[in-house]
């Protein structure tokens, strides 16, 4: 009996040593070999486009995203804010600057506990993209005069997506919620054919989610539209690293949206508004700065660090060389108006 169980466990990839014994899965050399396209320039219809309601800021790049779930497989939605994806799931994200494709990132759940991270750089004729080295590729395209886009290395990819439990960050219950925020910063309208939360549920591609998921869909808890939009932006752009379930030692800073009862403050508000900052703003005494000081955007470290591109203070610390002016304007106006703490 024991050998049979051992064999079964090995087949299912349940033995700790099994994954190590297999050769590590590798990303193909060419983007066209990843399964994104059915023919040159034509995306396979099994790869479904989607658009998160709160996009990640990437220096103003235009983006297209696709996901492919293995035939007959489903996402396990028991943990609403941390879905478990079936082995074989693939994600692609294409980045464009000035109308030209620059890179396409590829995230592939190749086998149990193993996700493959890869980035492909597009050629000059826009006909094919080639796998870049694990270290990434610097300065591949101009963003604005004097600033160039770099393709991140695998280590940086894992910094945001996680080293242990990997998360495709823009494909969550909140990001696909039918209760879409009309005021979302850099929000992208849903296009025909895009995958939605309702379709995932109806098609049985999302299982074990709470029964009222579509009746009471995920939504940033806020008392006014500006607060909703700002906290949604911070959840998407800051919540991958600053989160209660993976705390950064000694920081107690949490931007990640998690499903909770109405009235429970969003972590992005509770852990920032009126809270002291370990970072000291220039000109302020150590220990006197606040993360978000209602009415005082100029004395709040969150917008200061979002506006910075100096290594001592830049936030997010990677993935961007250009501060997000629109988001900063919205954030500062929200802080100056009380950061959601004043009744309207």
């Amino acid at each position: 009996m024991r050998p049979v169980l051992t064999l079964l466990a090995a087949v299912l990839g349940m033995l700790p040593g099994t994954a190590r014994d297999l050769p590590a899965p590798r990303a193909p050399r060419l983007l066209s070999q990843t399964g994104l396209y059915a023919a040159p320039g034509r995306v396979d219809t099994r790869n479904r486009p989607y658009a998160p309601q709160y996009p990640l800021w990437s220096d103003g790049a235009a983006k297209s995203r696709w996901v492919r779930l293995p035939e007959g497989a489903a996402i396990d939605g028991r943990e609403e804010d941390a879905w478990t994806f079936p082995v074989g799931t693939k994600f692609w994200k294409e980045f464009r600057f000035h109308g030209r494709k620059v890179e396409t990132r590829f995230l592939w759940h190749a086998r149990p506990r193993t996700w493959v991270f890869a980035s492909y750089a597009w050629n000059a004729t826009q006909t094919e993209a080639t796998l870049v080295p694990d270290e990434g590729l610097p300065d591949v395209a101009e963003i604005t005069p004097g600033l160039r886009h770099s393709i991140p290395g695998v280590t940086d990819c894992r910094t945001c997506h996680g080293n242990g439990r990997t998360e495709p960050l823009g494909f969550t219950a909140l990001q696909l919620s039918p209760d879409r925020d009309p005021g979302a910063i850099h929000g992208e309208p849903l296009q025909p054919g895009m995958l939605t939360l309702a379709e995932l549920v109806a098609a049985g591609r999302l299982r074990h989610a709470r029964p009222d998921l579509l009746v009471n869909p995920p939504r940033i808890r806020a008392t006014d539209p500006d607060t909703r939009a700002v906290l949604g932006y911070l959840a998407a752009n800051c919540g991958a690293c600053h989160r209660r379930d993976q705390p950064i030692d000694g920081l107690d800073l949490d931007f990640r949206h998690v499903h909770a009862a109405a009235g429970v403050p969003e972590p992005g508000q509770a852990s920032t508004v009126g809270r002291p900052s370990r970072f000291t703003l220039p000109g302020e005494a150590p220990g006197r700065s606040h993360r978000i000081l209602p009415g005082e955007a100029g004395h709040s470290t969150v917008p200061y660090r979002m506006a910075s591109r100096r290594p001592t203070s830049q936030m997010p610390p990677l993935g961007s060389v250009l501060a997000d002016r629109e988001a900063l304007d919205r954030l500062r106006a929200w802080i100056d108006a009380g950061a959601g703490t004043r009744s309207r």
Partner: protein, 180 residues
């Protein structure tokens, strides 16, 4: 930066102060050896002024920049001077900003107490503060650590975690000043 004789004296002090605390375990011995040859204490163990000049403040262990030592504004430098360091050799000012040597002792609140081995490796491999934040800044020679094997990094971490914890909250890095 320092005369060889002074450096040798520091290493001798380190060998007495740190290596004796290591458990008789091959991994810990390897970690102690790596800490010595890589000169971790050069910056992470504060110096104090002794009768013969600056000497290691061994009682502080690898606790980094002393919390009580609040640094004044960084000095203005004229080229070709580009950076400056505190007498403790734990605070540094340059074009990158002002940086302070981190507390590498296993104190739960101010050091590596809550760190896991995986987090330590992630910090080294990513070259990022806490494994996911800002770049680890000069003068920390992170590229040397990045050349180490996983086994050596694990030995290093095991050794650091085996040291006596020292409560010492090191300041956050500060923005560069205009003259740097």
């Amino acid at each position: 930066m320092f005369p060889c004789t002074f450096r040798a004296a520091l290493l001798a002090g380190l060998s007495c102060g740190l290596a004796s605390a290591a458990a008789p375990d091959a991994q810990l011995r390897r970690g102690a050896y790596l800490v010595r040859i890589m000169g971790c204490a050069d910056c992470h163990m504060p110096r104090k002024m002794g009768p013969k000049g600056p000497e290691m403040d061994v009682a502080r262990g690898l606790s980094g920049h002393p919390e009580a030592l609040v640094m004044p504004a960084a000095p203005e430098l004229k080229a070709p001077w580009a950076w400056a360091g505190a007498g403790t050799n734990t605070a540094f000012a340059g074009p990158w900003g002002v940086t302070f040597a981190a507390n590498l002792t296993p104190d739960a609140e101010t050091g590596l107490g809550h760190w896991t081995e995986a987090q330590f490796l992630q910090a080294v491999r990513s070259g990022r503060h806490l494994g996911k934040g800002r770049p680890i800044l000069p003068p920390m020679p992170i590229q040397i650590l990045q050349a180490a094997s996983d086994a050596d990094l694990k030995a290093l971490f095991a050794y650091l975690k085996a040291q006596p914890p020292v409560r010492n909250r090191v300041p956050e890095a500060l923005e560069p000043v205009a003259s740097h």
